[in-house]
Amino acid sequence: MRASFVFSEVVTGLRRNVTMTIAMILTTAISLGMFGGGLLFVRTIDKMQASYLDDVEVTVYLTEDISANDQDCTGEPCASIRQSLESNQAVESVVFEDRAQAYERFQRIFEGQPELVELARPEALPASLHVKLFDPARSDVIVQEFSGQAGVANVDDQNKFLDRFFDLLNSGRNGTFIIALIAALAAVLLIANTIQVSAYTRRTEVGIMRLVGATRWYTQLPFLLEAVVAGALGAILGVAGLVALKYVALDRILEATGGAIPKIELFDVLFPVAPILLITSMLISAVTGYVTLRLYVRH
């Protein structure tokens, strides 16, 4: 196969159809930009989950009786609760916090609001067992096992709160993916349409090629490459858009969260997001092109 011939046909095709080509590239870029945004969302959520989950613990609050009378968790039923927590395979460590320590911590947390500290009294705070798990995501097991046991007032799972927070982020991610999917559908239809128009404007050439015995690859490769080139340009534009978005807006927004949401690094955009976008785009363009040619262009 003569590469120079195929290449010149591709360039001719893209130029002949220039408005359509631009529309195809832009739609692809928008769709891929959204998709890339979704991927970055996922990456950010992963990072956050990893850093937050490290500190997540389950707190087993003890009853008033224990809180008032058992200073070091040596009496029953505190000792056996502690014992059974420590022997649980999912548990990494257990720390007992008595009423006085709880009060100290309360004072520390609310030192900015002295009126609140003044109002609170140590008797209002329960003693507790702070349980760290090997896998914080599996906190349900502890909650289920210890809720309602003798000596336990209630079990608080910080993971539950984080779950709600991550649910919010996840729905943001899902929304981005859905919009990306709709834009991708538009891009795929545009690619299919452009190839049909391209094949129609070149029907005389294609007709002659078939009659003189050109193979299917020879007649259809230029159209296919046209779609793939446009797809690649769309991907590059999409990545450029993401990088621009990072510097223009995202960096400032994320900085305003005071580190609660980690910054998106340039490296995150360039790898693995950029290659994923490029490969996805070229693959989808090629498949769309191939299917369109099979369905609409006779050989």
Partner: protein, 229 residues
């Protein structure tokens, strides 16, 4: 070279077969006119040879190709053994004369040095030397048809199929085109030409196969157009 054996072709959209039990043998190097009124099956005949259509019944052989049965991916090979000329020339308006002819070789992957060698040769054969760089719209109808013939012949096909090649030309120009086709036939290429042109058929005195409503009603070794009517 070409053999149709009890070939029928029925199109889905029509109750009457386009071809109905047609058997024709054409030897290598023959010159055959295919005549008959519109709708008699001439175009279907040619399309079957090119594997643009497959027969509903019967067998079509071209050279060593069993046209109806061959795998789709081998069809380009079959078509490379044939050249086609049409009434409407079908030249590419944005390419020069030489580029139009070269196109037929480029798209089947011939090397550049072969193309630069054979294109001027074939342009000389069809009498277009010196017009290689003209655009099709700068040529007369006769000259455009010569370019089309050059393109059909440049790969030295075994068979040249011509579908009303003089349909758009005046009588004198038609005569020139026929001389050219005769010349190509003398190189050993089998020529099969569908036509309505009485005077050409009558003056050439070559084999005439007449179709009517999809059947062969006459096959004369050295025929004329209007016999028996």
């Amino acid at each position: 070279m070409i053999r149709l054996d009890s070939v029928s072709k029925v199109y889905k959209t029509s109750a009457r077969p386009a071809l109905d039990g047609v058997s024709v043998d054409v030897d290598k190097g023959e010159f055959v006119f295919l005549i008959g009124p519109s709708g008699s099956g001439k175009s279907t005949f040619l399309r079957l040879l090119l594997r643009e259509e497959v027969p509903s019944k019967g067998r079509v052989m071209v050279s060593n190709f069993d046209v109806a049965k061959m795998a789709r991916r081998r069809v380009p090979r079959l078509r490379q053994t044939m050249g086609c000329v049409f009434q409407d020339f079908r030249l590419l308006a944005n390419k020069t004369v030489a580029e139009n002819v070269a196109f037929a070789l480029e798209v089947i992957g011939k090397p550049k040095r072969t193309i630069t060698k054979v294109v001027p040769e074939v342009l000389e054969l069809v009498g277009l030397e010196g017009k290689a760089d003209r655009m099709p719209n700068e040529l007369s109808g006769g000259e455009q048809q010569r370019v089309a013939i050059a393109r059909a012949f440049v790969n030295r096909p075994l068979v040249l199929l011509a579908d009303e090649p003089t349909g758009n030309l005046d009588p004198d120009t038609s005569q020139d085109i026929m001389l050219l086709l005769e010349r190509i036939n003398r190189t050993g290429t089998t020529v099969l030409m569908a036509t309505h042109d009485h005077s050409i058929v009558d003056s050439m005195r070559r084999r005439v196969v007449e179709l009517h409503l999809g059947k062969v009603i006459r096959d004369d070794k050295r025929g004329v157009y209007g016999v028996g009517r």
